[in-house]
């Protein structure tokens, strides 16, 4: 550990340590504090300004475990983690290179979860070291002791003292001071910072803006005088207009762009923020967010609306998906189109409400009792969260299908820029078609070859039929005969095969011809997996990856692709038994969910490497796993 210029005195410019200008391709920065001290705002502004300057960014929130944790405890650590890159950034990366911490306990929390790089630079509020309260001083000293086990470079900063020169309550000002320091260190555009402050505090007064700007200037100045290095992550000029948001906002906007008019939901983390966003704006678009009495009712309301008109939407997470199950079966049986978004979190049961996991795949696919064929898609990026809503709605409508969209907490809360969509009104649902129904039109006029049929909507003269969840024939007459059930089951199932017939095979990332190892992933892990593949390919390993978007029906041609590789491993954020764990054998080993799916549909011996750490996968750990797989003779 290097403690710069002692723990208590003001810090003098550094000599020796890092070069005055450290030029890197990327850097990961954290701002952590007790909640309520504004670290998140600081991080958001820093990220937005970096994006505007032309850096790639990926931001994740550091969320305290409790709603209102006491001050100065590790569990209370709250803030933002921003990975800034010279090029596009597709995932949250590995470890943090520089931290600004408002107290040593928040810092400890990050240290203990292994979030920090071994040589990370830590800028820490130093006031605690000289506190009047001996308990605080003792805690500080214990923390320094614990942190000293690593090669961190600790820079104490008199944040409180400095802020007091400008404001009375520094608790509300440190975040702007920290922003100023970061602005100096990373050479951020001050004009843009001021603009961003104006936007962030637009609802507040001029005085708030002025005070924030002077705090930023103060932090900048202090850093200039006391910190002897700068870090340069070169921005690239932006040639296309970009927007920056999290995946849930992207889903909400996608829902609007797709022309949805009703979103029924029941609050559940991490899905709720979609409905928060929609509740704020949806009415301006002629839409309604209906908060139902529970997830079951939310599904029912969405089905009722869809049955009566435009395809409706329901949004949930694992526990809610479980409750919707019976209604989903009804929608599938009555061929009522519906889009269900499942923002996955850790499970089972209440599990890890705020944390990422990809363990709803099989429940989504097979959760409904009886044979219940439906479509599942998984966007892999924040941008895809937007665009997938348009495709999902269209498929639901044309195939009279339930379409589930699986995202996860990583996409939901990650913030990254993507090209601003060029809106098209053809994305939106057509008005409800109420043309009269012909005498020969039936509610399930299945086309024998495809199982497709045209639905009839209340209001269409001549179409007065009763849809039912009971097994039924083309006229929707309740039918218990085995022949009819066999046939109607085939018709509902056939639609998936037909959809698959118009899908194009997925594209291999790396080497289409084959190689030693193929990593298969789905959903939010794309960025981390591809980064890992890049790293090992740079070392000469013959490794490629394949990222699937359609999980039901699976994209065509997967088997052929898998067979071109010596080994295949599915990398996912869900649980699988470690092959070396006690009692685990080749036969009883429980594999990851995608691995199971691929094994059953391709008969290829797909291996599984999965983790459930309650955080996104790090490219570095995927690299390690890949190396093990390629080098070991096992699992092929």
């Amino acid at each position: 550990m290097t403690i710069s210029a002692g723990t208590t005195s003001a810090v003098a410019p550094q000599t020796g340590a890092p070069p005055a200008h450290l030029r890197v391709r990327e850097h990961t920065i954290e701002i952590v504090s007790d909640s309520g001290e504004g670290a998140q705002k600081c991080g958001q502004i820093f990220a937005a300004v970096s994006a505007k300057m032309g850096n790639g960014i990926w931001t994740v929130e550091i969320i305290p475990a409790e709603v209102q944790p006491p001050p100065r405890v590790p569990e209370g650590a709250s803030g933002n983690r921003i990975r800034v890159g010279a090029g596009p950034v597709t995932n949250w990366g590995d470890q943090t290179d520089l931290v600004v911490a408002f107290n040593e306990q928040a810092l400890l929390a990050r240290h203990r979860v292994g979030a920090l790089a071994p040589d990370a630079i830590l800028l820490i509020e130093e006031m605690w070291a000289t506190s009047q309260d001996p308990a605080i001083v003792a805690a500080w000293e214990a923390a320094m002791e614990e942190l000293s086990t690593r090669e961190y470079r600790i820079i104490p900063v008199p944040m409180q003292e400095q802020c007091l020169t400008l404001v009375e309550n520094p608790r509300k000002g440190k975040n702007m001071f920290a922003l100023g320091m970061l602005a100096y260190i990373y050479d951020r555009d001050m004009e843009r910072i001021r603009d961003q402050i104006a936007t962030a505090f637009r609802k507040k007064s001029e005085a708030v803006y002025d005070s924030n700007v002077s705090l930023v200037n103060l932090g900048y100045q202090w850093a200039q005088e006391h910190i002897g290095f700068r870090i340069d992550v070169p921005p690239a000029p932006i040639d296309t207009p970009l927007v920056v948001m999290n995946g849930n906002e992207a889903i909400g906007m996608g829902a609007i762009a797709a022309g949805f008019e009703l979103c029924a939901m029941y609050p559940i983390t991490p899905a709720t923020s979609v409905s928060h966003y929609l509740s704020e704006v949806f009415e301006r678009f002629g839409g309604v967010v209906h908060q139902a009495e529970d997830e079951i009712a939310a599904a029912g309301v969405a089905i009722g609306a869809s049955y009566a008109g435009k395809v409706a939407l329901t949004i949930t997470s694992g526990p809610g998906l479980a409750l919707k199950t019976e209604f989903l079966g009804l929608a599938i049986m009555t061929e009522t189109p519906l889009v269900v978004v499942d923002v996955q979190r850790g499970g089972p049961s209440t599990g890890l409400p705020t944390k990422v996991e990809q363990s709803d795949l099989l429940a989504a696919l097979f959760g409904q009792p009886g044979d219940a064929p439906h479509v599942i898609v998984a966007p892999a990026t924040i941008e895809e969260c937007f665009h997938v809503m348009i495709t999902a709605r269209r498929i639901a409508e044309t195939f009279r299908a339930v379409v589930m969209v699986l995202t996860d907490a990583n996409l939901a809360t990650g913030v990254a820029p993507y090209p601003r969509p060029t809106l098209d009104s053809q994305w939106q649902a057509a008005p409800i078609d109420l043309a009269p129904v012909g005498d020969s039109d039936l509610p399930y006029a299945w086309e024998e070859e495809t199982g497709l049929s045209r639905r009839i909507v209340p209001g269409q003269p001549g179409g007065m039929f009763t849809l039912t969840g009971l097994s039924h024939d083309e006229r929707s007459k309740v039918a218990y005969s085995s022949g009819i059930h066999q046939h109607s089951s085939a018709m509902r199932s056939r639609k998936l095969a037909v959809l698959q017939s118009v899908l194009t095979p997925p594209v291999v990332y790396g080497d289409e011809e084959g190689g030693d190892l193929l990593v298969v992933g789905w959903g939010s892990t794309k960025g981390a997996i591809e980064e890992a593949v890049d790293r090992v390919r740079a070392d000469g390993l013959k490794v490629s990856s394949l990222h699937l978007r359609f999980l039901s029906p699976l994209e065509p041609g997967i088997k052929a692709i898998l067979q071109r590789f010596t080994k295949v491993v599915a990398v996912e954020i869900n649980y699988s038994d470690d092959p070396d764990a006690p009692y685990i054998t080749e036969e009883n080993r429980r594999r990851g969910q995608m691995a199971m799916l691929l094994r059953s549909s391709t008969l290829v011996d797909v291996d599984s490497w999965t983790r459930v750490p309650g955080e996104p996968l790090r490219p570095g750990s995927i690299v390690t796993a890949i190396r093990e797989r390629v080098l070991s003779g096992g699992a092929a």
């Binding site: 895809e384 665009h387 997938v388 053809q426 994305w427 008005p431 012909g438 495809t450 017939s501």
Partner: protein, 334 residues
Amino acid sequence: MLSDPRVAVALDALAQPIAEFRAAVEGALTQASGFLDAHHASPAIRASRAAFELGEFATGRIDAGRFATLFPPLGSGDPASLAMLDRAVQTLEAVNGEASDLFVTEVTEGRKLGATIDAALARAGQAFGAIVLAELIRAGRYDAATHDRLLDPAEFRTWNRAERRFAPPLVIVLRGADLHSGALTDFADGRAKLVLVVSGPCAPAPLARCITPGTFVMQTVDGAGLDQVASFDGPAIVAMVPEGCTTFTHDPRGGAEGWQRLSIGTNAVAPKAPIDGISVWQMAEDVRLLTDLARTPFSVPARDGTGTPAIGAEDAVDRVTQWLLGQTGLQDGA
């Protein structure tokens, strides 16, 4: 006169029914032109349309050409029907293209109020015809002999129940002298909403005679209360009158008795001189009628239904209805 700032106030209050009418027209237009396109389009065009509809997530993942072949255009595309549909689409496009003109009209020199309203609504009637025609063609039920006339402008008189329910709201700019309530009551049906923007010398209570139990009638100076018009599920006649006129609101939702429905803000005295063709006696009669209607009974029935029935309450409604029927010659209930 169309630049009268009160016109904007009125249009604002009518935003909801205007949006509903527009959405219906645009909806029918989208369906109809989609149908036309589908029948005229080559496979390549259909594929590109399918690609647009599927959005960018589908790019490179769904073969739009093959997708399009799964959903061939519906209905028959015989040339005669398509040609007629083309005409319907043109009508709808024309209606859709008109900005707020469709919802604002003016009683110009030498024109009568009734005729002005009729002419304005006939345009909407044409849109209704076009919508129905388009739907019939799409459903393959088009028959030239019976359906072609659907595209002719249609006067309110000929509108059916449904059309009357969907009559678009109308803002009418006029001089006080042109305001004859007899011309208005013809249109009090369905959910017709008429808002009159009146300037110049005006009788104090010209709309008093429009009051019937189910019609929302209001006179306002500054537009206060206009927001209640859009949400009223029935016919409404409102006048934005010059300063000095009576202000009142007759809201059928108020209750079963006349006095429960009618509230008078300021009751003006009738002028001493006639205004164009409106005599002093007629104007005074309007004011008396209002006062009569607003009179509360001296006893109200007790909650348990005992007590004396309200005297005059029911009478007031009956009296005005009788009287109105007498005035308008509508006893047969047309």
